[in-house]
Amino acid sequence: MQFSFPRFFLLAVILQLVFSELLTINGFQPNIMLLFVILSSISMENISRATLIGFSIGLLSDLILFNGSYIGLSSLIFSICAYLSARVSFNFVYRNFDLYWLVLVSLGTGLYAFFRYDFFFFNDILLFLKNWIFLSIYTSFVGFIITRLFKVKEGVLENA
């Protein structure tokens, strides 16, 4: 199955809304949009294009999906993750697909956690780590199911 950008974008928006409204665990929600940006950027050859798309999706998410968040935060994190995601070589992705997106998800959620729990970061590092790890594991767990369910790996590698 080809990795169709518009189709997976729509799916990501719907899943993000579903998880936001119905599947919040202890106040934590998986960041499906971050997952989408990382996975869609892997197959992009043009790094600048991937970065700009990540930035635009981040801005859109801040305005529409993530009501209450600071405008600019998601665009910052998505740009960085899209840039790093697009830089990877095909051979590396082929061999370490899951490892690669998992590392980037941890990085992205880590940046989110840093902005959200900055007070804990400077005052109670254990509480900060607990929140970051939980957010990261939840997003990774959901990502693992999504990548298997929609055969994302095959689609991404076919496009790359």
């Binding site: 106040g27 929600q29 930035f55 305005l63 405008i71 729990y117 900055d118």
Partner: protein, 262 residues
Amino acid sequence: MAKIDLFPKQKLDSFILFLCVFISFALIFSNDNRNIQGLRSSAIDTFSFLYQPFNWLDNQLFLTKKLEVLSEENLKLNLENQILSSNKIENQRLRDLLKFRERNEFDFIGADILSKGFSSNLSSVLLDRGSNDGVKNNSPVLSSRGVVGKTILVAKDYSTVQLISDIDFRLSVKIMPSEAEGIMRWIQDDICQIVEVQTTSDVQIGDIVLTSNLSIYFPPNLPVGEVISFYKESNSSNKIVRMRLFSDLSTLNQLFILKGDK
């Protein structure tokens, strides 16, 4: 003619990343700008329809559970009301005797939660009431049990509420009956911490925490929570008090926005 590259490919990629990061930081630091606030209000008004189906689904799926919670709460409130009614008569009589000034009655706007929102850095909910209904910025928001937050962004028909569980939320509170005052902030789940409480104050486990008279946005005596533990801060003349919120933030459905000025 040979094509001259102003930017080699790799440098262009880095430049684009730098530009995106720069614009993002510029946006983050100008979130309080009136134009940005206006843009956010317009976005909420325009795209709130996206949340409607999921909100409807949420209501359908958890309707029985919500009914159970509401019935239980109703029973508790009924019993409490019986006691308070008799206390009110006695209190009114004593106030009349002492010629105390009449207290202001609170006026609330009921609102449904439209979206619990994805909160990357802010714990917030979206309500289906806005400036058209008389909601103003920084208005206190309560559940049926107590304070849950304040409005931070008011669009025409919707408003965003910053919940107590947001790490940046601070509330000036007092602990009753000792009237010890302090600043409350969220720690985790439904546990909050009150700092700047004098060591000499007589705080006991089970004491009630209310909003204090010092808050800019919150009127005094709104219920917040109850004390569950306290300890003395080392090298300080203050003690730290831990409290549990009255409101269960994970099961919020309907909220009440305090109308008008303090």
